[in-house]
């Protein structure tokens, strides 16, 4: 958004050509927005469409939403996803924040190896991670279900939290931690009174990022969970293989609203962080 609005800044050419340039910019911007949002708009509109196939408008209805709420399997999968997302995001944030702080604060021998491994987890294709997890869980005899899913999600969320928080810590004045120690704060109190409050925006965005990643992961999840604990993306995936039901449109609209709320919350928190 910021990059786009910069495009619209004042241009140095004469008045006439400036007007044309401006028109061109609006056109360009319009095309981008159309490309990005038209499919979403169609989806949202269709979730209220009487017509089952969505080729044309047959009148407004809530019935797909009713059907969605009555579809026990789908709702179960939805709540499972939310639960896994909340837990995975929270644990990944706790672990990741401590890890970022350790990487920032201490010079230990395996520091480079540790941060390198995080990047490996982050960069490796989902399918590789998925197979790795599967092999490990089988080897350890862990039943595929809630726990295997949670562990896998925490793992792939972790590097994103570490990197977000670490970047924030690196922006700090390095003397702040020493200043706290100088004024009599122990290591632990320094962490809770200075480091934590100051990295809060990064911690929150790390959590939100993890939650989103967990919520829409299909590949890793489909390998590491079993029928005992089905989650939303997998459920939807198996549903749409038979044909897109308008319930799915309703579900997607619901998720869309949820993610818009999350984005707004994240922005508010980040803005508050910046104004400090």
């Amino acid at each position: 958004m910021i990059a786009i609005s910069n495009l619209m800044g004042p241009s140095k050419e004469g008045k006439g050509s400036a007007r044309w340039a401006k028109a061109g910019q609006w056109l360009f911007l319009g095309a981008i927005f159309f490309y990005l949002y038209a499919p979403i708009a169609v989806l949202v509109v269709n979730s209220f469409n009487q017509s089952k196939y969505g080729h044309n408008w047959k009148g407004f209805t809530w019935k797909w939403y009713e059907k969605l709420l009555n579809n026990q399997n789908l709702m179960d999968a939805f709540w499972h996803s939310i639960a896994i997302g909340l837990l995975a995001a929270t644990f990944a944030t706790l672990l990741g924040t401590l890890m970022a702080y350790a990487l920032y604060r201490y010079n230990f021998t395996l520091k480079r190896v540790t941060s390198g491994m995080l990047f490996v987890v982050m960069m490796s294709p989902d399918i590789v991670l998925a197979i790795t997890f599967l092999v490990i869980f089988m080897a350890l005899g862990i039943h595929l279900g809630f726990w295997s899913l949670l562990i896998a999600h925490i793992t792939f969320c972790l590097p994103f939290v570490v990197i977000t928080v670490y970047a924030r810590l690196n922006d700090f004045d390095g003397n702040l931690i020493e200043a706290a120690r100088d004024l009599g704060a122990s290591e632990a109190r320094t962490f809770f009174t200075v480091v934590m409050p100051m990295s809060m925006p990064a911690i929150v965005s790390g959590w939100l990022l993890s939650f989103t990643l967990s919520l829409d992961d299909v590949i890793v999840s489909s390998f590491v969970t079993g029928p005992s604990y089905e989650i939303l993306p997998i459920r939807v995936f198996s549903m749409v293989r038979v044909g897109v039901s308008p319930e799915v449109n309703a579900l997607a609209t619901g998720l869309l609203i949820l993610s818009v709320v999350l984005v707004v919350v994240a922005q508010l928190i980040l803005r508050k962080g910046k104004s400090q």
């Binding site: 003397n175 020493e178 706290a180 120690r181 100088d182 009599g184 109190r189 409050p197 400090q276």
Partner: protein, 371 residues
């Protein structure tokens, strides 16, 4: 003489393989304004960090009141630091920044408020108590940093180039305020700077260091007037240094000796005085501050011993007129004279031939092998 508060005994510190301090000794008296002065990278900040407890020495002892505190954690030392970057906590208000140390030492909350306000009033920032650091100017931030440190009533207050970020005017003002604070509180200040003027005007004693080694410790006046070696002489202001050889010892009494010295420069022999004992044949360096020199036009001067040169450059400095003069063998010297408004012809023309003398007895002489 006040008693010793802080002492380094043969302290050594390495970063990786680089030796930063080697066998470093330090002696800070209770209640004094002590300044560490030296060029960039000489180890000033490192010394402060050792005192504060952010670094541990590889060897040697750090004594506070005679007790070794080398192993003590920073949070347990009765020492506070004013960081060069201020290091104010951005998420806390000015009040909470200043209250931080008191809260950590579990001071009763009824006592915290009056003490914080007292500290803020001392730096004249009481009305800014509710602001966040981001809403303060550089000078105000600095004063908060000072208040945050002194409110804990430390034994030692460490200040790392605390004024270097300020503009000239504010800096002068803060210098006076700091000095005033130090007298008022009776706290020992250890101040780091690479600004020699600042060091001279504020300190009770100065330690000049270079490459992790102490070059000279003494009162500002001693350091300025009797530098121990060429490094100190050149670092503390401008100085002109001439090579000479002692030809004859004229007389020696308790305080000083009189000698006849031969200067290659100008091919002349002159009498010099020094507190140091020399023998005939010693090679010496004669040091003269720019303000010790006297200049005359060569036309009006009769032939007499002295240095002869040409005026290269003149800088009007308000109170003084500084001239750069090139001697016959190419050595450049700097002379500084008080500007006299009653004498408008005082100005020299460029390339004007001049004769240079100095006020007899104002020279500072050291042995050449000390350099």
């Amino acid at each position: 003489m006040a008693k010793t508060l802080m002492q380094f005994r043969q302290v050594s510190l390495k970063f990786d393989t680089q030796e930063i301090l080697t066998g470093f000794d330090l002696d800070i008296k209770d209640g004094e304004f002590f300044t560490l002065l030296g060029p960039s990278g000489c180890g000033k900040t490192t010394v402060l960090r050792l005192i504060a407890g952010f670094e541990q020495p590889d060897e040697g002892q750090i004594l506070l009141d005679g007790h070794n505190i080398a192993e003590q954690l920073a949070e347990h030392r009765p020492i506070n630091t004013v960081f060069q970057s201020y290091a104010l906590f951005p998420h806390l208000s000015v009040f909470d920044n200043v209250a931080f140390g008191l809260k950590m030492s579990r001071t009763p909350s009824t006592e915290i408020k009056p003490r914080v306000m007292e500290a803020l009033e001392m730096v004249r920032l009481a009305e800014f108590a509710d602001r966040k650091p981001a809403q303060l100017s550089g000078g105000q931030k600095q004063r908060v940093a000072i208040a945050r440190a002194v409110v804990n009533r430390p034994r030692l207050l460490l200040l790392d180039e605390s004024l270097s970020a300020l503009d000239y005017k504010l800096r002068q003002q803060m210098q006076i305020e700091l000095k005033h604070l130090q007298r008022q509180l009776g706290i020992t200040f250890v101040y780091v700077t690479h600004d020699q003027e600042e060091a001279l005007s504020m300190s009770d004693r100065i330690l000049v260091m270079n490459h992790g080694q102490a070059q000279q410790v003494g009162a500002p006046r001693d350091i300025y007037e009797s530098p121990a070696n060429e490094f100190v002489a050149r670092f503390i202001g401008e100085i002109n240094i001439f090579d000479a050889r002692i030809e004859q010892v004229v007389s020696i009494d308790e305080q000083q000796g009189r000698y006849l010295a031969y200067f290659d420069q100008g091919n002349m022999t002159r009498e010099i005085v020094s507190e140091t004992r020399f023998e005939a044949g010693d090679k010496v360096k004669v040091m003269l501050r720019p303000e010790d020199l006297r200049i005359e036009f060569l036309e009006d001067a009769p032939e007499k011993p002295g240095f002869i040169g040409e005026v290269q450059e003149r800088n009007y400095k308000g109170k003084t007129l500084d001239s750069q003069i090139k001697l016959k063998d190419g050595q450049l010297i700097l002379a500084s004279e008080f500007f006299n408004e009653n004498e408008p012809d005082f100005d020299y023309k460029l390339n004007q031939k001049v004769w240079i003398d100095w006020v007899h007895g104002w020279e500072h002489v050291i042995k050449a092998d000390l350099l």
